[in-house]
């Protein structure tokens, strides 16, 4: 039998969007150190349910760190204390017996809390809808090698493409800015040949939508890069700044 620990959780409870919300202290006893953070919450929720109490609402899906659904602030850190780890991949062995664990939802005006730890991240969807795509004629898939992609660009684009849209960058940013998310998407597509046709329109449209959603301005703190479970570099933000500057100047010049 594996070792277990006892924790005191201070969890944000909020009934719905309009509720002011509050912290609730919940004892989490006999938690296996082999459990993931979400499995720990599952166990706590089972016990809460048996006690006739409301379980803690939290987002989750794949539980293997690739879907971007889960995420919460754990003791002030997005996705908890381990770097390059989503909340579902965080294991309880990183906590000690008797620890107090403060769990809060992502905080951003653009991510309203729906319930407890669940936030509405549809602002990200609207940013993608504004330009985070390439327009292609559907039909038979073209032969992959018919479009040459230089190795260095393919690597950089792939680094950017690792973004799972979890929102940790916004949550960790002192300004609640979404620049790393938008930068990853713009960078990914602008580096590839398929992204060239809509390159200028994309940079302007996605940044405009990001501003409309009420995210903060980037002031180069780089907390986003440190918090990103995929370790996406702020160098992509520099690329977005460059793309946007170029697109804006070209817009003025060519109309």
């Amino acid at each position: 039998m594996s070792a277990t620990i006892d924790l005191t959780l201070k969890v944000w409870r909020q009934q719905d969007r309009s509720d002011a919300g509050h912290f609730e202290t919940i004892e989490a006893k006999d938690i296996s150190v082999d459990a993931s953070f979400l499995e720990m919450l599952d166990l706590v929720n089972e016990r809460l349910t048996l006690d006739g109490r409301e379980p803690i609402a939290f987002d989750h899906d794949c539980r293997e760190g690739i879907c971007g659904m889960c995420g919460a602030m754990v003791n002030g850190q997005a996705h908890g204390p381990e770097s390059k780890t989503t909340l579902c991949q965080l294991h309880m062995r990183h906590f000690s017996d008797g620890d107090t664990v403060v769990i809060e939802p992502w905080r951003s005006r653009a991510f309203p809390v729906l319930k407890d730890l669940v936030v509405d991240r549809s602002a990200f969807d609207r940013i993608i809808a504004a330009g985070g795509y390439v327009s292609v004629r559907t039909g038979q898939a073209p032969e992959a090698h018919s479009i040459p992609v230089p190795k260095n660009k393919a690597d950089l684009a792939f680094d950017a493409a690792q973004c799972i849209g979890c929102g940790a960058c916004v949550a960790a940013c002192p300004n609640a800015s979404a620049m790393l998310f938008v930068a990853a998407k713009v960078s990914h597509l602008s580096l590839l040949p398929q992204g060239q046709a809509e390159r200028r329109r994309r940079a302007r449209a996605m940044v405009a939508q990001m501003d409309r959603e009420g995210f903060g301005n980037c002031s180069n703190h780089y907390e986003c890069e440190a918090a990103c479970p995929k370790g996406i570099s702020v160098a992509h933000i520099a690329r977005l700044n460059r793309e946007h500057l170029f697109a804006s100047v070209m817009e003025k010049v060519t109309g």
């Binding site: 912290f23 501003d211 301005n217 703190h221 907390e223 700044n241 460059r242 946007h244 500057l245």
Partner: protein
């Protein structure tokens, strides 16, 4: 929604970057000019006279700097107000993973400190009467005015002035230590290896600027208590 209509968030930071770079240029040029103090009264006063003789060109440069400062301050204050609003509910536990630094978190404060100091500095030196009573150093130059050199000398024998001055140049150094790399990033000039080097260079320039500016009052005090003014 919450955005203040002054261009997109990226345009705003690029305006801050460009106006900031103009101010960095001035800070470094001003420092180079100030080093004349180590060469003696003729050099510093000669440099001041030379600047004044530029007449309209000097005023053009001053107006340009003033414009850069106004733009820089207006945009940084607006952006800071927007950024404060965008969090909504504050975190109960505020953590950092080491991305941000003390210098980054206090940019608005260090900037406003330098701004407040600027008014004092302008009235103390730039717009002071170069031949007034403040320029006469007791027991030196036969009781005659020592021009700007005399004004600087007298000012830095006042401990309160020295403390305020050194505090202000430390704020300036702290501000620069983030500012230069931030400009590079905002203008999109950095990739990963460049960013690392620029971040290092930015800190070195910040530290050197603070030390160099602080060396002026230290020089005056040390000289006063050792060889004296020497004229």
């Amino acid at each position: 929604m919450t955005a203040i209509p002054m261009g997109t968030s990226i345009v705003k930071k690029q305006i801050v970057a460009v106006s900031g770079l103009a101010l960095v240029g001035f800070i470094l040029a001003h420092l180079a000019g100030n080093f004349n103090i180590f060469l003696g009264p003729e050099w510093l006063n000669g440099y001041a006279k030379h600047l004044e003789e530029l007449g309209p060109v000097l005023w053009l440069m001053r107006i340009g700097l003033l414009a850069a400062a106004i733009v820089h301050i207006t945009f940084t204050v607006l952006v800071t107000i927007e950024n404060r609003r965008s969090r909504g509910v504050a975190y109960a536990v505020a953590g950092s993973r080491g991305g941000t630094t003390f210098a980054k978190k206090t940019m608005i404060l260090s900037g406003l400190m330098v701004l407040s100091f600027l008014f004092l500095h302008l009235s103390d030196f730039t717009f002071a009467d170069k031949h007034g009573s403040a320029s006469i150093v007791a027991g030196a130059n036969g009781g005659e005015s020592l021009g700007l050199y005399g004004i600087v000398w007298n000012a830095f024998l006042n401990p309160l002035r020295v403390v305020v001055y050194i505090f202000a140049v430390c704020c300036l150094g702290l501000h620069l230590s983030h500012a230069i790399q931030s400009c590079t990033q905002s203008l999109g000039l950095s990739d990963e290896p460049v960013l690392q080097r620029v971040t290092f260079a930015s800190r070195v320039i910040g530290a050197l600027a603070a030390l160099s500016y602080a060396s002026i009052p230290v020089y005056v005090i040390v000289r006063h208590f050792t060889v004296g003014i020497g004229v």
